[in-house]
């Protein structure tokens, strides 16, 4: 084998067929995470299957009850699509604070949730890392883990899932449509990612040779009344140290009928907080209620040193997001 192989997928069927057949093959869409990994030799693929010519994956279809996004839709295309802004503010807001305008012109919604973690050890190929090299140990557990997860970790891995978009999708009950040689199936977005457990190298519930064809996002009051808040160290161009996608549906009296809360930057996968949602339901939409519900966000959270601040930051992020949303309703 000499150097990386490259091929254009002739069709969706051809792509999934080839992907299933060759263990070292990976899909390339926007390339914005893949090229970082190639350059830094972090799990570099041997063969790239370029799906960007598959025009069928490029559509945004806005229907009565749902919106369908093709996997090849670029992040900026979602942001610029007026109807989506009104239908799913949390998704559009999450994308608007993702990466940079240049990256967003390349990156696709299909590739975004499949970007790899930013864990400092995962990204430095010379260090032990169970996710990159199973069995070598997790360097982050007792290392520089300021950006690592407090939720969903295991003794084998505490890598944070980095996508902003995925957090909003999880909150809004989106579904992923997956394609393989065996046909199509759909999967709740919340089930797309796996917990690291003792096999952190298996990050997704995608079967071998399966690709994301697109997403279905239900249109609902809840989705319209949603919001995404991202906290980071610098003003722009950084992954979240903590984030929250929230959605509220109120009755005439201002009582919360439905609530959705998912968080990012703090967990090993996009993280729904059902206990917070439960605590909000049936209560008036007001700051004290938000604060007490948000305080449940860290249930089961474990800190590892440098990332202990997230125990404080996370509830405040959730509460702030709810308050900001409330002001808009």
């Amino acid at each position: 084998m000499s150097g990386l192989g490259y091929a254009r997928a002739p069709s969706l069927a051809g792509a999934v067929e080839a992907l299933g057949r060759h263990a070292g093959a990976e899909i390339v869409a926007g390339g914005t995470d893949l090229l970082q990994r190639l350059e830094e030799e972090v799990l570099p693929p041997e063969l790239l299957i370029d799906i960007t010519g598959l025009d069928g994956l490029r559509a945004i279809e806005v229907g009565e009850s749902e919106v369908r996004l093709g996997a090849l839709v670029r992040l900026n295309e979602v942001i610029d699509y007026e109807a989506l802004r009104a239908a799913f503010p949390a998704i559009v807001e999450a994308l608007a604070v993702t990466a940079s305008p240049q990256v967003r012109n390349l990156a696709t919604v299909g590739g975004n949730p499949l970007q790899k973690t930013r864990c400092l050890y995962f990204r430095d190929r010379t260090t032990p890392c169970n996710r990159r090299e199973p069995g070598t140990g997790c360097s982050a557990l007792q290392g520089r883990n300021r950006i690592n997860a407090i939720l969903g970790g295991s003794e084998h891995c505490i890598a944070t899932h980095p996508s902003d978009f995925a957090v909003a999708m999880t909150a809004l009950d989106a579904k992923a449509v997956l394609a393989s040689t065996r046909g199509e199936r759909s999967l709740a977005f919340a089930d797309l990612h796996r917990l690291p457990g003792d096999t952190p190298q298996h990050e997704y519930n995608l079967r071998r040779g399966e690709i994301i064809k697109g997403y279905i996002i239900p249109r609902a009051v809840l989705a319209r009344q949603s919001h995404y808040l991202k906290v980071r160290d610098r003003g722009e161009f950084e992954w979240a140290i903590s984030s929250a996608a929230v959605a509220l549906e109120l009755d005439m009296a201002g009582t919360i009928v439905r609530a959705r809360v998912a968080v990012g930057g703090v967990a090993t996968k996009p993280w729904r907080l059902p206990q917070v949602e439960f605590a909000l339901r049936g209560r008036p939409a007001e700051p004290a209620v938000f604060a007490s519900a948000a305080s449940l966000a860290t249930e089961g959270a474990v800190a590892h040193g440098d990332n202990a601040y997230k125990l404080r930051l996370l509830p405040r992020t959730v509460a702030r997001a709810l308050n900001e949303l409330r002001e808009r309703l």
Binding site: G3, A7, L48, G235, F237
Partner: protein
């Protein structure tokens, strides 16, 4: 050349690619490893050095070029994936008589740089920022220019240059 990937179905797998890049309205034929980025093709193969490499992994914006009119990081695009697209680099920004683009001139007027290394990327990004309609206020410009790092810290001058050029473009 033995390629482990050769058995990948009817895929036409190549580890060396022969391609044509349309840069600033001119076609360039070249043969490069499949792994070659658009950035390295521009700099090392075509000797179009105006597009800069600051990190090679999307994290600085120095390599910003326009791909079919949209700004992208040339280091995050494989050269082979840029085939058939219109690539505009800083070398192609000038007017028909070779005159500077108004934003280039504004960078000089507002001293929007020191070392100049991030400058082509800032300018390409700035041109797109204005074209996208994201130059309505200083805050908006800052937000939409944050993918371009300037370690010399010329930010306020860069924003002033973009603001002035956008204002001029509106009129």
């Amino acid at each position: 050349m033995q390629d482990a990937a050769n058995d990948a179905g009817d895929l036409d797998v190549r580890s060396t690619v022969d391609l044509t890049l349309a840069v600033n309205g001119e076609d360039h034929r070249l043969e490069v490893p499949a792994r070659t980025t658009l950035l390295d093709a521009l700099r090392d193969r075509l000797h179009l050095n105006g597009t800069k490499k600051g990190c090679g992994i999307g994290q600085c914006g120095a390599c910003t070029v326009l791909l079919d009119g949209q700004r992208v990081n040339a280091c995050l695009v494989l050269a082979v994936m840029a085939e058939g697209r219109h690539i505009t680099t800083i070398e192609g920004l000038h007017g028909p008589a070779g005159e500077l683009h108004p934003l280039q001139q504004a960078f000089i007027d507002h001293d929007g740089f020191q070392c100049g290394y991030c400058t082509p990327g800032q300018i390409m990004s700035g041109v797109a920022c204005i074209a996208e309609g994201h130059a309505g206020s200083r805050a908006e410009i800052r937000q939409h220019m944050s993918g371009n790092i300037c370690r010399c810290g010329a930010y306020v001058n860069i924003v002033a240059a973009i603001e002035a050029t956008a204002g001029g473009a509106d009129r």
